[in-house]
């Protein structure tokens, strides 16, 4: 069924060919996690949209002050933290350890500020009578959808802050290197990006008309 063909097979050639996949493993794993996490967020947002569409008395209670203002402030803080994260990664790449640490910790601080602003908003809403199963304005699903979507995002921010501090301190002690900062940066930017979906869908679409 086959004939003798003597062909030199050069293994090096194949190594060359596979080089496009030569992404550092940790970075690849983070990208894969982001793909998977994006699916999770997408599922939550689709669920929210599905329910919102199917609910006639969906409330649109948000007012410019305080909700939209607060969301703007949170967005500003989170985008700024994206910038500081970027500067941190750049400093780490140019082996400026001190600077990198400073930016990473600043990012963590901004993340914490974001979380506090968020919690303050949550407390305000809970005070106004919004619960997971009811609210003063309309369908009880509103609270459930709002708290679960923003809650999932908040969980990511809080985990990110913990990770920033943990990776930062290990980086400081030399256990982690610039690549690890970069991998964490990917995560942080992803959390940023998700917020860009949460703001229009969960906040702006529910502004009182």
């Amino acid at each position: 069924m086959s004939q003798a063909n003597v062909v030199a097979v050069n293994p090096a050639e194949h190594t060359e060919r596979s080089s496009p996949f030569a992404i550092p493993t940790k970075k690849l794993a983070m990208w894969l996690f982001i793909v998977s996490d994006a699916a999770t967020f997408a599922a939550c947002l689709v669920a929210y949209g599905f329910l919102r569409n199917g609910t006639p008395n969906w409330p649109t209670p948000f007012k410019f002050s305080p909700t939209v203002l607060n969301a703007m402030a949170m967005t500003f803080v989170l985008i700024t933290s994206g910038l500081t994260m970027f500067l941190g990664v750049r400093a780490a790449k140019s082996t400026d350890k001190k600077m990198a640490l400073r930016w990473v910790y600043l990012t963590a601080l901004l993340g914490a500020v974001f979380a506090l602003l968020h919690l303050r908003e949550w407390l305000g809403m809970i005070h106004a009578g919004v619960r997971l199963f009811q609210n003063p304005w309309g369908s009880g699903l509103f609270g459930a959808a709002f708290f679960s979507v923003t809650g999932l995002h908040l969980l990511h921010v809080v985990s990110g802050v913990v990770a920033l501090v943990a990776v930062g301190s290990r980086y400081n002690r030399g256990r982690y290197n610039a690549d690890d900062i970069e991998v964490l940066g990917l995560y942080w930017h992803f959390v940023d990006l998700v917020w860009m979906f949460v703001v229009p869908f969960v906040y702006l679409m529910n502004v009182a008309r």
Partner: protein, 594 residues
Amino acid sequence: MHDMSAHALQHHAPPPGFVRKHIFSLDHKVIGEQYYGLALLAVLIGMVLSWIMRLHLAWPDVHIPGLQLLSKNGAPGGVLTPEYYLQLMTMHGTIMVFFVLTTAPFAAFGNYFLPIQVGAEDMPFPRFNMMSFWVTFVSFCVAVAAFFVPDGPPLSGWTAYAPLSALGAIAGPGQGMGQVLWAVSIAIFCVGQLLGALNFITTTLDMRCKGMSLMRLPLTVWAWFITSCMGLTAFAVLLPACILLFLDHVAGTSFFIPGDLVVSDTLQPHAGGSTLLWQHLFWFFGHPEVYIAIVPGMGIVSHVLITNMRRPMLSHRVLIYSMGALAFLSYMVYGHHMFVSGMNPFSSLAFSFPTLAITIPSTIIVLIWIGSLYGSKLRINSPSLFALGFISLFVSGGVSGFFLAQPSIDIILHATYFVVGHFHLVMALAATFGIFAGTYFWFPKITGRMMNETLGKIHFWFTFVGAYCIFMPFHYLGMAGNVRRYQAFVDDFMQPFIPVHKFITVAALVTGGAQILFLYNLIYSRFRGQPASENPWQATSLEWTIPSPPPFNNFGDRIPVVYHDPYQYGVDGASDDYVMQDSPEQTQSVRDEK
């Protein structure tokens, strides 16, 4: 590529203690065995559950001794109540789909052989890998714990359709605590599978040894790789779905509960959720899940058949692309589970087309198998027999898919035994045959001993004939109008079905009993089997270049280098009729695709 990924690989020496070596092991091979053990335990439980259900269906009044010990209310005097029948059915489905069909062909064999077949020392994240198993184990324990809570396990089926699954205890026995445990268990399971998928993909892309280009990966690796890509996104959607279901139970939300629902003469204090939402989220996971169960089997079957045909498949590439196409299409067809759910009929059409389209890659795969088999001198042994059985079951079960894919026909066949027969043949049993083929094939590598061939063949014939005896009649029952999930057939028009059900039950008992042969073979051969050589099947891929059982770091101090496509069989000019992948011998077969 090796320098860059080197730092991620944590080189580790064999651990000293028993616990680190066999229980909390970081070694991908031990983790693979643990997954296999878990699947074996799960399949035994699942099979016993199916026996109990079958006995009850054929003889509704039958006393099953000891059953009252499992549940006093569910089986007073050993006779199943209707509710308890559904509860056992739910657990049968859950255990089989999640803890057998997902874990055995994918997590068990994949963990054991994927790193070896790509020429790696281990997976890049061994700790994640260990967590993946133990998280899955915890998930299994939580699922099984549902048997022991007061009302028993949930009765909503493995699909947990809302609102039944979301209402809580008022919806029926097991719908309170049992369903909560179910949701928690499946959510945990998702996390475990995500960790596993992460490891599989990074191993395949980053840990390949020198010379192992993507097209030189064995078909098994491709199958596991494609499966992990599906798992990565499918389980990521089931996870939030289970969490929302959990919230419906414990936090008073009503994501999946519509308003104004009256259950047991009580108006439910919920408002406005959607039952369809659960189905959308569940089946977005659920359909890829079917392929997560079957694609690894395709890889194993191809691998086993090639070795025993002594020639490569007609086209290595097309087989890989077709498996990829299956995976891709599997995301677009999930709505065919919902044709009669009340979804917009136009959506049904939109989901029907890709469902029919999915038969194209499936058919290409089957034709490649059959075309390659045609005229080959297939070595008949237990692995190749089970591989042939896989093809047979996959075709038989697949053909009924043509019917179900069309909304107009599905309206009649939906929720009948036709559907049950369809998915048991094409997914459950075909995948199980893939597991058997893999077990008989790789057992010598894993244990260093051969399994008994005669017992293996007897086991095959019992299982193969039994499988058809059990599930072919399902199709006729379904067409005759036998609805699924009924615990007894008391309606007049169902009376004539009862003899068929008796036949099926006897077949199920015999076929299930024949699995004792397999268990005996597995245990006996483990300790007393004939010692196996390094490469008993004269196979070519990397796992056969290392001792049986493999040493802790797979390749010892040797770093493998690959020179060939994975399946160099029937090669003239070689010293044997095959060339190992890592042999520098310079040959090229006709089918070597360049």
